[in-house]
């Protein structure tokens, strides 16, 4: 079957949507390769089709057998992004996989939010440890004068009247340990979520 301009337009529209979807999580060269391969599949199918009962129905049947472009893109996402993240455990693929799930699912959004909060909190604790030697009177546990329990952990520039910093240089190992443990737990949590997601997809 040789396509008319209308049929060509329908096929190009399918490939355009697929390309747009793939671009959100795959590198440019992988997108180009994937779209080229799907187009090759379509051209083979179209060439072998007899165009009955009419071209429109024949093209729609071929596209339906291939699957909606978003579903095909999701399959690429599941196979490449999440599997790569779990297999390698590297930060960039994990961030990419989380980002993709965050913009496409509610559970993914929740997990990504938790990862962002965990990472920022951990990095803030490490920043406190790094800043303490330079600003010993501004960084640490902050207490109101006369209180026995600190109300803030961090830094104040300047320290407000009626408050003072406690904890001394013990703040450094405390914040450093807390920050590093926080980063490890966040990383493990993110990886566990992605593994759960992949198993859920397979079940």
């Amino acid at each position: 079957m040789t396509l008319t301009a209308v049929g060509e337009s329908r096929v190009n529209g399918y490939l355009f949507v697929l390309q747009r979807s793939l671009k959100t999580f795959l590198p440019e060269d992988s997108v180009r390769d994937a779209v080229r391969e799907i187009e090759s599949h379509l051209r083979d199918r179209i060439a072998a089709a007899d165009g009955s009962p009419n071209e429109r129905e024949a093209v729609e049947r071929i596209l339906a057998e291939l699957g909606p472009p978003l579903r095909v893109a999701q399959a690429y996402s599941a196979e490449r992004t999440i599997d790569e993240a779990i297999t390698t455990g590297r930060l960039v693929p994990m961030a990419r996989a989380l980002w993709h799930l965050a913009v496409s699912t509610v559970a993914g959004f929740g997990a990504a939010l938790a990862v962002v909060i965990g990472t920022m909190t951990s990095l803030a604790a490490i920043a406190v440890a790094v800043a303490k030697p330079f600003f010993p009177n501004n960084v640490g546990f902050l207490m109101h004068d006369g209180d026995v329990v600190p109300h803030t952990f961090g830094g104040q520039f300047p320290v407000p009247a009626g408050e003072h910093v406690v904890g001394g240089y013990w703040v450094i190992p405390f914040a450093l340990t807390g920050g590093l443990v926080g980063l490890v737990l966040t990383y493990r949590g993110a990886r566990r979520f992605l593994t759960w997601w992949r198993e859920r997809r397979l079940s």
């Binding site: 992988s30 390769d33 994937a34 080229r36 391969e37 799907i38 187009e39 090759s40 599949h41 051209r43 083979d44 199918r45 060439a47 057998e65 291939l66 699957g67 579903r71 095909v72 399959a75 690429y76 599941a78 196979e79 490449r80 599997d83 790569e84 397979l202 079940s203």
Partner: protein, 114 residues
Amino acid sequence: MSRETWQEQIRRGTLDLAILLSVSSGPRYGLAIIQHLEEFTDLVVAEGTIYPILGRLTKEGLLESEWVEDEAPHPRKYYALTRLGTKRLGEMTTAWRDFVKKIDRLMTASERPR
């Protein structure tokens, strides 16, 4: 677990093996692999979902791919087993046959009157 879910798990679990088997006799392009699978199995639900699996198997080093430009009016991407893929296919085939034999033995035992 519903019957559909269980069958879907089996389908997904065996798709890698089926794809590797499809290219074991020689290089095939995507649509030829799909047609081969459709001829012998009902593993292909949506054709488009096979391509990402081919991509993953290539990335894992089990398949190698090559674009052939001059065979058809449009280019086709051919897949072939690598040495690692051949080795893995052998292991998977042995494991699968062993698995089927054991389940079969279990089913035979369960059918036997007590």
